[in-house]
């Protein structure tokens, strides 16, 4: 009885699936879209924070911070990062305070209680460039510039994606994809958009933010601030903002694995010892 019943239930589900399958095969069509044809996988990017022994390059993080401060911060917030966190980039206390002071943060007038703004202090978070989403949309052709704090964790291939996007703008009229195909005219971005094959729908609202060498003036002894270098540096900086504890995590991992390896070997030897008399084939 159980068998007959189960076979009937089984036939019900398999019949339903067969029907779906037949209809699916009859209408079978591989998905096809201009986005699929032209969307590119991010370029390779190697950062010193990569890999199991990865460590942040403090100099690069400082340069990346400079790029964020002078370019990105005009539109993009960094709301999860506080000025005090910048000490991890190698700035001393006075430098952190000076950086904080350079930003105006929302405040309240202690005499009148009115909303105003004041110079930042170390415990303040990076201020948002727009008062609210509506203001952000109004200033950016109806697109909200996303917060960058977690950007490198919030996209596939995070840092490589950021780097590729910043250096990947192309002219839709002359662009050819890997198969040598030109972008169809009807897929050109609208007047307010910008063609970028590393962006999922190819049409990015953000205008190319890094356009010329020396746009950001790096200090003495730094590499030349080419567009490529600035993009790498800001990607590295955003790896840090997304996970300030990354270095500590990797450094903690090794002793933990070392201990576990040791304990497991001891455990294995104890196991061999305990079972010695039971494993003999006599």
């Amino acid at each position: 009885m159980a068998r007959i019943l189960s076979i009937l239930v089984g036939l019900f589900f398999t019949a339903g699936l067969t029907w779906s399958l037949l209809v699916g095969l009859f209408n079978f069509e591989m998905p096809h879209s201009v986005e699929k044809d032209f969307h590119k996988h991010p370029k390779e990017l190697h950062l010193s924070s990569d890999g199991a022994f990865g460590k942040f390059d403090r100099q690069q993080l400082q340069r990346g911070f400079q790029v964020y401060k002078e370019v990105c911060s005009a539109c993009h917030s960094l709301r999860l990062v506080a000025f005090r966190d910048l000490a991890a980039l190698g700035y001393n206390e006075a430098e952190v305070k000076a950086i904080a002071k350079g930003f105006q943060v929302p405040g309240i007038d202690p005499a009148t209680g009115e909303v105003n703004s004041r110079p930042g202090i170390a415990t303040d978070y990076f201020p948002k460039p727009f008062a609210n989403d509506i203001a952000a949309r109004a200033a950016n052709n109806n697109a909200i510039p996303p917060d960058l704090s977690l950007m490198t964790k919030a996209r596939h291939d995070g840092p490589a994606y950021v780097y590729s996007l910043l250096t990947g703008y192309a002219d839709p009229a002359t662009y050819k994809n890997e198969q040598g195909k030109a972008l169809p005219k009807e897929n050109y971005p609208p007047a307010t958009g910008h063609f970028n094959p590393y962006f999922a729908n190819l049409n990015l609202a953000m205008a190319p933010p890094l356009t010329s060498e020396g746009q950001v003036q790096y200090g003495e002894g730094s590499p030349k601030p080419t567009v490529d270098q600035m993009a790498r540096d800001v990607a590295a900086f955003l790896v840090w903002t997304a996970e300030p504890k990354l270095e500590k995590r990797k450094q903690t991992g090794w002793p933990v694995l070392g201990f576990l390896l040791f304990a497991t070997i001891l455990g294995f030897l104890a196991f061999k010892n305990v079972w010695a008399d039971k494993k003999k084939k006599a």
Binding site: R3, S6, L17, W19, E29, E243, R249, L257
Partner: protein, 427 residues
Amino acid sequence: MSFPWANEYKPSHPFMQWMDEKLPVPRLVYNAVGAGYPVPRNLNYFWNFGFMALACLGIQIVTGIILAMHYAANGGVAFDSVEHIMRDVNWGWLMRYAHANGASAFFVVIYVHIFRGFFYSSYKAPREMVWLLGVVIFLLMMATGFLGYVLPWGQMSFWGAKVITGLFGAIPLVGEPLQQWLLGGFAPDNAALNRFFSLHYLLPFVIVGVVVLHIWALHIPGSSNPTGVEIKTESDTVPFYPYFIAKDGWTLGVFLFVFCAVLFFAPNMLGHPDNYIPANPMSTPAHIVPEWYFWPFYAILRAFTVNFFFIPAKLMGVMAMFGSILVWFFLPWLDKSPVRSGAYRPLFRKFFWFGLIPAMLVLFYCGGAPAEEPYVVLSQIAALYYFAHFLIILPLVSAVEKPEPLPYSITEAVLGHDENAKLANAG
């Protein structure tokens, strides 16, 4: 029940004797996971995953309780409170990554544990109750995992909650009111987040309770083993302590090593980047996918693409998705073969390795892929086999198959000979 040759608990210290008279907890432990529990001596390494699962449950509860001290279940601040844990709480990043990856590790272990049960037919009499309770634990784990994934209140949290509670909306007549009742609103919001947190904290303790029953039910007939031949004499068994404590102990070390390698060096490998974007009801992600451990069932849900007579495709999908797990409850009565172990069942074995396992892998892959061809057709074929396997093939195989000869006893399987077998033949 236990075997007559099981060691008896004999406390020597006066305090332990006093304790044993008043509240014999040490005796309980001794008989459950100590020298008082005889275990088949031939268990292979697939039998170590139950112990690992228990360890996972422990990790999840400890890290979860600590996370709850810093997490805030409010739609306005939940996302930021998780980032606060990651950035400002001492070792918070470790607790959170351990908890998120711990859930994945728990499911990896439990899938091996379940498929061990499939292959060695651990569900068969006299262990039906062990199996039934195990399926209950799996369902509770799925519920807990789903609820937990909603708590960080990222994009996948929000849209996952919307899709999964939307499944209840497929139920005829009561679906829509039921969905609103579950969510406490028309869409996931603060009410849903709060109750999800409440239940996410409750269910693990329910799991602990069912795990106790699971182990209790296991101790009545004793553990199964790779031959499927029941324990006959003392030489078939060894006491749990020290033999299996030693074996489970060192494999736990291997498990923790792999777990920590992922935890410290690739903690976001199994997560989805979209969950690092705060929940936004106005912006639907390009592909809504659940956590990896739901993929096979998500693939089954999406495999039903057209209405079946008067039954809407979505309802078929929902029934099939729940049915695909509920069918496990009936396994003890679907598979009637008198032989337990797949090692002695030639036909069953073929369907297991060349049918069920590939079908499961395809469902895993397709469940995480976008809902487009060729993944839809692939998941339809795999889901078709999945249902056929449990509901049609398994009952038929057990009727027609001729099993291979079994060893006389566990002792014979291990040592190649058993004195008792000779006696039995002579007598």
